[in-house]
Symmetry: C3
Subunit: 156 residues, 3 copies
């Protein structure tokens, strides 16, 4: 398997998201459910068992990224083998764009800290993976502020 992310430049400046990722001869793929900040330690049947952790967007983003890391590894992949991420931020509206919104600024800071610790090659100044950044009026459960859907390649 060979995976390569093509960086994106505007003029001479690298942007914080890539052009895309090409995956050659993968052994397969991992499709994760949307990852979020729901607390996995709440021991109640669904739907009572679906409650976000305390700590706002930062805590939800960190927990979502931790789930992505551990689930990819459980299924034979890794953060470095991510092909695409969809970032869904709860809106409803971001008049100046999602990228500048207070919640996304906080989520991006957590993401950079997380990648710096666990997958430094994905940091903004290195080789950030291709993504789609979207806002939605609401997510599955009350108080959810972020959901991240990932497709990753299977390592050999």
């Amino acid at each position: 398997m060979e995976i390569k992310t093509h960086p994106l430049f505007h003029g001479t400046n690298q942007m914080m998201w890539a052009k895309g990722t090409v995956v050659k001869e993968p052994k397969g793929f991992v499709f994760l459910a949307g990852s979020e900040g729901l607390d996995p330690n709440v021991n109640e049947p669904w739907p009572k068992g679906a409650v976000v952790v305390e700590g706002g967007i930062e805590a939800q983003t960190r927990l979502a990224l931790e789930k992505i890391k551990s689930r990819l590894e459980e299924m034979g992949s890794s953060l470095e083998n991510i092909c695409h991420l969809w970032w869904y931020l709860k809106g409803p509206e971001f008049p100046d764009g999602i990228a500048y919104s207070p919640n996304m600024i906080k989520a991006r800071k957590v993401r950079e800290e997380f990648f710096k610790e666990h997958a430094p090659s994905l940091c903004m100044d290195k080789n950030p993976p291709p993504s789609t950044l979207l806002s939605v009026p609401s997510l599955a459960f009350k108080d959810m502020l972020i959901e991240i859907t990932v497709i990753a390649a299977l390592a050999d």
Copy 2:
């Protein structure tokens, strides 16, 4: 080809969506267009030919799932080989989360009935597939309440 869905637990309780699906050595993939409740029997050119069936969210969900089943089978796959579903519910907003909204409760009931009949292994208490549940302010055509996008693996 080997496909395996990893169930999700919060405490000791299984949630109604999975952690993710891992697909090893697939023969290929099927990418379905967003499936919806538009009536395929309306014999008019586009755009007049795009009209939702009567019967609200239940009828639209059932028709969308029937299209998913028949199209996957036509293309060499099946409900059991679904890798990921994106559920798009027309909003604009669900103050208590989409999962508790009247339309999603109805859609989920239809989905459970449909899976019980056609793919019992995907029911909520068995091995529900990984998904992303999102709301959108509007869908392609008037009165569309739900759209479901599916990626599935090709059976051998």
Copy 3:
């Protein structure tokens, strides 16, 4: 590798989107970041380097499609090997559906012109690829009106 798009009929009329695409024995896949109308010639670091081109939805759609074409080719794929497109139109709401909205009518006209020139087999009356058409309350940067996310197969 074999790729086949299955056309969609309502009655005897072909719709402008397909049932789906089946990809057999692909060499791999290309996952593009969401493509948009941000001007790649603005030579400023992020976030100042993320500015939409002038010319509204038409110019943004054309630039997004040009990016998709050139990036797919750079990574060993092509427009003809697109498996699925997600079209995200900035809303917030389209009371008569997105397909009839002024911005989507303009975007579709640009798309048809673009495909006619660069990939005539994808035109509406031939074999249009499977897609999901969604509205979102906002996109990543101010004044972005459209974003298109693509997964494509790798040619042999």
